[in-house]
Symmetry: C2
Subunit: 380 residues, 2 copies
């Protein structure tokens, strides 16, 4: 009995999935064309066929569909025609024909929102004072901000992406967000019903990780650590956000760091990562006269201590920090990477980088835009 012998690639384990109909296969190929167009700028149908390995016929058919939905547009014939043959008709995503609304609910003082184009460029900004808002009032403010932004859009809005603090499940239901007093709030479903637009709600750190991957030039395996009033993280593994068994992946703020005590934390424990790293704590210690460099170095070391097992277990090669530049950049980040190097195997993590995000305070809003792009244009 002979068996054909191929090479076996990445494995998944036995896990019944859903059936695949031809229709869904087509949707997949359609997304493939959209993604190729998104990534590689203006292309002809023939270019797309070469890139996707589909035939020109199939590409032509898919493109006709996309043009019909005004997702793609023809730009006219290619001008640099130094080649023989019929000049190509260039196509591109209808980049200027759509807008995305991205909203960041993570700040304690304001809800920030922006009108964003398909390339992630922020066109308009709006803010709403969110101090003290809890429960339904906070949700209403988020809705108002979304309404305001969709109202000023001069093009059709592809969708509304929202990065929320707290624990958010896959349906965009905020399971818990203590600062806003939210419990089991179906924010995504509610806003979607109100706005009549696709809405996607996810944890703000997860959104930020997506932004760093989509717009920040990060690799597909990435941990994004947000340092602010608290400390949270978003994990991207092979380009896919990690959610965790109870949707609490990345919640490392209350993991105890080290074996030598530490300050008391609001959660009742001692030496939580937040007690070492949260912005108010750092500012307070510096204001109280502790040497700034020493405080920042220690904070970086503690972050490194906390991240070392994670970096080791996941074999991460990229850690990105988000938060106040004046605190994170320099000493703190350097201490983090030094500590990580000292505590992990050089052999596996020699290329480890720890750096600040280049997206600044817009990271969550732009990550929310990536979520919309993925949902509307992405792979199934």
């Amino acid at each position: 009995m002979t068996t054909e012998v191929d090479s076996f690639g990445p494995r998944r384990v036995l896990r019944p999935s859903a059936k695949v109909l031809p229709e869904q296969a087509r949707a997949h190929n359609r997304s493939l064309v959209l993604q190729t167009l998104y990534r590689s700028g203006p292309l002809s149908r023939a270019d797309l066929a070469r890139e996707t390995a589909l035939t020109r016929v199939t590409v032509g058919d898919l493109v006709a569909e996309l043009i019909g939905e005004e997702l793609a547009i023809e730009l006219g014939t290619r001008v640099d025609a130094s080649r023989p043959g019929k000049p190509a008709t260039l196509l591109d995503l209808n980049r200027d024909g759509h807008r995305i609304v991205g909203i960041d609910l993570g700040d304690t003082e304001v809800f920030r929102g922006a009108l964003i184009d398909l390339d992630g460029t922020i066109l308009e900004r709006r803010e709403i004072d969110a101090r003290g808002l809890v429960g339904g009032d906070a949700a209403a403010a988020a809705l108002a901000l979304a309404r305001e932004l969709t109202a000023i859009a001069d093009r059709p809005v592809l969708g509304v992406g929202i990065g929320s603090p707290g624990i958010v499940d896959l349906a965009g239901c905020v399971l818990t967000a203590p600062n806003r007093g939210w419990t089991d709030l179906p924010l995504q479903a509610r806003l979607q019903a109100e706005l009549g637009l696709p809405v996607i709600v996810a944890n703000d750190a997860n959104a930020a990780a997506l932004a760093e991957y989509g717009f920040g030039g990060a690799s597909a395996d990435l941990m994004l650590v947000m340092v602010g009033y608290g400390v949270g993280a978003g994990l991207l593994l092979d380009g896919t956000p990690l959610f965790g068994s109870r949707f609490a992946a990345g919640e490392i703020g209350h993991v105890v760091v080290g074996t030598d005590g530490g300050e008391a934390c609001a959660c009742g424990k001692q030496g939580c990562l937040e007690t070492w790293l949260a912005v108010p704590r750092l500012q307070a210690r510096i204001a109280a006269g502790e040497p700034r460099e020493a405080v920042l170095r220690q904070a970086g070391e503690r972050l490194g201590i906390a991240l070392a097992p994670i970096v080791g277990a996941l074999n991460l090669s990229e850690v990105v920090l988000s938060g106040p530049v004046e605190l994170l950049d320099g000493t703190l980040a350097e201490a983090t990477v030094d500590t990580l190097r000292q505590r992990t195997m050089e052999q596996f993590h020699g290329d480890l980088t720890v750096r600040l995000t280049s997206l600044g305070g817009d990271i969550v809003m732009r990550g929310a835009a990536v979520m919309v792009l993925s949902a509307r244009l992405g792979v199934s």
Copy 2:
């Protein structure tokens, strides 16, 4: 402009993938039928249609194909016929018609192999003395063991699964395995060429994690910690093994634990997890007169300290230990879970369990069998 508003599920980010042809969609549905048959025992074509949401016609066609390849068999009509209508013809995987060879190269003293049926039951065992084997000799011994096991198989062998120590890439190439002196050894490709059978090589801890999921009743999110001569781990996220950016995911043996020093490690650092937990170290300390309970408690605590950030970041709910029962069970495991509880958020990890594997010393061999099952029967 109205947009249809659906609910959006789990998101992936923009990442150009491959095209999907109808042929591949069919392969997917074929695997779906196989998996359903594997999981849910004997079923009729109509049962399969209901379970998979495919039509009876399509299921009939796929089943005919599977029967033609002798992967499925008809068992005759159902006997408990208390229902009206034509009695169903029961189908099942041809469970007794195939064998799998599973091999564990992780031990320092022996290479263990087994002939395994599709349900994971071990039918025959073989061992080869592996003390001191390095380089080509070690690879030759692995090949000889695989040959011996395929030779005694009385049924066609679906494939050979191998759990190897060290760093193994997706193509089954052992990048580094210090104990065997292997560097960039294309073990999978070489054995496959020699044996003329599908061969899958992966890291032994990853294989063990798959075994715990496939045969040990574990959930799809799982960390399996192997404690032996060294300390390694395998991670399963949503049923998929995690490999890491350089295929070194799970290599936590040389992550430094705690902030209070520790014994010197062979790697040059101090206080690596292995110095606290490796079996030789524990045995030596107990033999030297240290109180057994105290040694084991401390080892468990250190494991908990190392795992806390990982459990927190990944929001894991299940940690499984594999290794010498007399050392791991009881005090050590209890200290681990106690420490984890003390160092993470009760709210997110209240259901965290830490337990010993029930698969004993066969875990890697049976995990290797799961890899073969996945590759031959699994989803694309």
